[in-house]
Symmetry: C2
Subunit: 428 residues, 2 copies
Amino acid sequence: MHASEEAQTESDASRSTDQETPARREFLRRGITAGGAAVLAGLAPESRAAAATPQWMTRPGQPFSNYGLPSPHEKAVIRLIAANSAVSGNGLSWTPLHDLEGTLTPNGLHFERHHNGVPQIDPAGHRLYLHGLFERSLSFGVDDLLRYPMVSQQCFIECGGNSNSGWNEEPLQAPAGSLHGLASCSEWTGVPLSVILEECGLHPDAQWLIAEGADAAAMNVSIPIGKARGDALLALYQNGERLRPENGYPLRLVLPGWEGVLSVKWLRRLQAATEPVMARNETARYTELLPSGKARQFTFVIEAKSVITRPSPGQHLAAPGWYPISGLAWSGRGVIKRVEVSTDGGKSWIDANLQTPVLPRCFTRFRLPWRWNGESCILQSRATDETGYVQPTRPALIAERGRHGYFHYNAIVSWEVSEDGSLSHVYA
Amino acid sequence: MHASEEAQTESDASRSTDQETPARREFLRRGITAGGAAVLAGLAPESRAAAATPQWMTRPGQPFSNYGLPSPHEKAVIRLIAANSAVSGNGLSWTPLHDLEGTLTPNGLHFERHHNGVPQIDPAGHRLYLHGLFERSLSFGVDDLLRYPMVSQQCFIECGGNSNSGWNEEPLQAPAGSLHGLASCSEWTGVPLSVILEECGLHPDAQWLIAEGADAAAMNVSIPIGKARGDALLALYQNGERLRPENGYPLRLVLPGWEGVLSVKWLRRLQAATEPVMARNETARYTELLPSGKARQFTFVIEAKSVITRPSPGQHLAAPGWYPISGLAWSGRGVIKRVEVSTDGGKSWIDANLQTPVLPRCFTRFRLPWRWNGESCILQSRATDETGYVQPTRPALIAERGRHGYFHYNAIVSWEVSEDGSLSHVYA
């Protein structure tokens, strides 16, 4: 049985940890050479403690705070911004995945994609309008929505344009977060959209919901009615607190597992219709010519993908020895069943440990201890989801999608480790 | 079958939502009177949209940000601080549970309990020392620990003194967070303590680990070796990012399900010993005289408890009608199996919906739609955990623990709704 399968069938709910692997057992057997710990044997405890007393133990610390912030020593852990200077507030910022661990994204680091900046909305003046093919056209203030039954759902949101530098002829050199960080994972809480559609009496002829945001771009998209009546959420809270402005405060449509452009921020309008609206983001964008001459359109679901976040470009291996390989895998189709890791450019693969609980449409953390022998090598990860879909190689993805691709790039990512311990992005 | 049991046996992992209940079905059947939505039928969509165009759609929004913050309209959602003016940095701050939803606590709002302020630690100068009954006395820098295998675990941390105003003769009037908010829930990621104990060669005679923090108080406690070798975690990350300073940056010991004082922040020292250290926080504090004349000491585990966060004191019901009852339940012994809600002061109870996935030693969100008839009434919640332990009434807790109790108060909480829609804390 593979380690990843064991993770799936884990029956002991009392502890969520990685599973044992031969590599981990070897790691432990080999002991202290791994972590580079200093051997202190021979010093008496008292002298050790006294010698080590740091300056911050010699005086009272900082006061309490009403709302905490990261340590000043973590000031480099930020969203990296790429804004379009021609259009105010048009651009994006990436989650620094290479600096994070676990499965959740803190709210301050959730990726951004805006078309005309972040509207500063007074929730008292914000309403959601439902109109079109409903028995009743209704509008809801935030306080109204807060009186409806709520649910919470942990899920990732990923921009359909994430990772799209992978279509470039040459591999872009950038940190893992700047290549793949238009994806973040949060616990969203709000009112199921299905409840509000029922409240308004959705007409059986309605096939699409046209959603519009309250930003200055009035960003809009079309959503198939099945998804709208399924797990779509009118989210009011993110990771416990009310939404952040850049994530749609006070109201965001969240469509778990589907490309992020559909999770409309600052949601103000839902029109039920028989046809899609054919908005810019489903015609000029998100429509792609295939090698067959046909075009892809309305390609909503995020297919399985994965990326090693540690080690990754910009990080450095100090010397040969043991290092943790750690990364993220996710699939819009449900649960990640398996992540394999290769340290020889895809010639051989070993199952990584999957952090439990493995939740559907969520970031899944995979980890594997790895002993670097000091030679140049190529690290890769390959995700498989519950449908059996396997993350493709780059050549396979290009064979299917051609050279006109821009969105939904999900090929296997390759990091090359050089003999000097540096890492770079390669196609392999 | 109870709704809460259904939640436990839910086999369809494709969606995590609350379960249907008769109350919810009635809620939906009764329709739009519930949420107070405005009926807009009769207006053409175009005129509706035009009439409603808010000012924030008329100009570009705010720019991208490297690290996001809550909306200015949420500035009242803060930790409430109670500091001891006699000792610098001695005090606490509460998580505003009454303002939050879902199961996670954002890092900026995680409760604080400090004895001498928040040390501003440079991680490059921080080390963890292990000494005493080990084959090898070792020390580990943060970079050393980052090379060991990691795990992630979502769990609550609760101060043993949380809710202790419940021992007062008269019910304290304060928001739910200020009464019960010395409890928060996060995803912690780090190195299992067991791995580091193995690395140092823990001696079989060791029965306790004495843990010390790098704050100016050098706060220390004793931890039974079984817990240390079990699920104890050397946490480096909280909700995806590195720990916040007020939660132990750069290193915190996390003991899932045990009273918070044991999850030593700014961890710098672990001494393996045959006896506990008998620190102030296990003798002068956390030792309590029982009615029998015996004393409780080393009462580590947090027993099951729950509190309704919405509606709760400080909130207001505008008029009779449907309202969501929403709250949190947790148990240090594992999974919450059931939460019952009473709206008549404990005469009758109905099972609330439990938000799935229900994780062990985590906040569990419970919800129930409720129709307020406009009369005075008393709201209560009662949690049951996987051991069968049922949250006690206040008289039962006092009968067991006497009037000298201070820590581990977990009795059923009662909110009285007055005819004017205001809420207050009562003993019932």
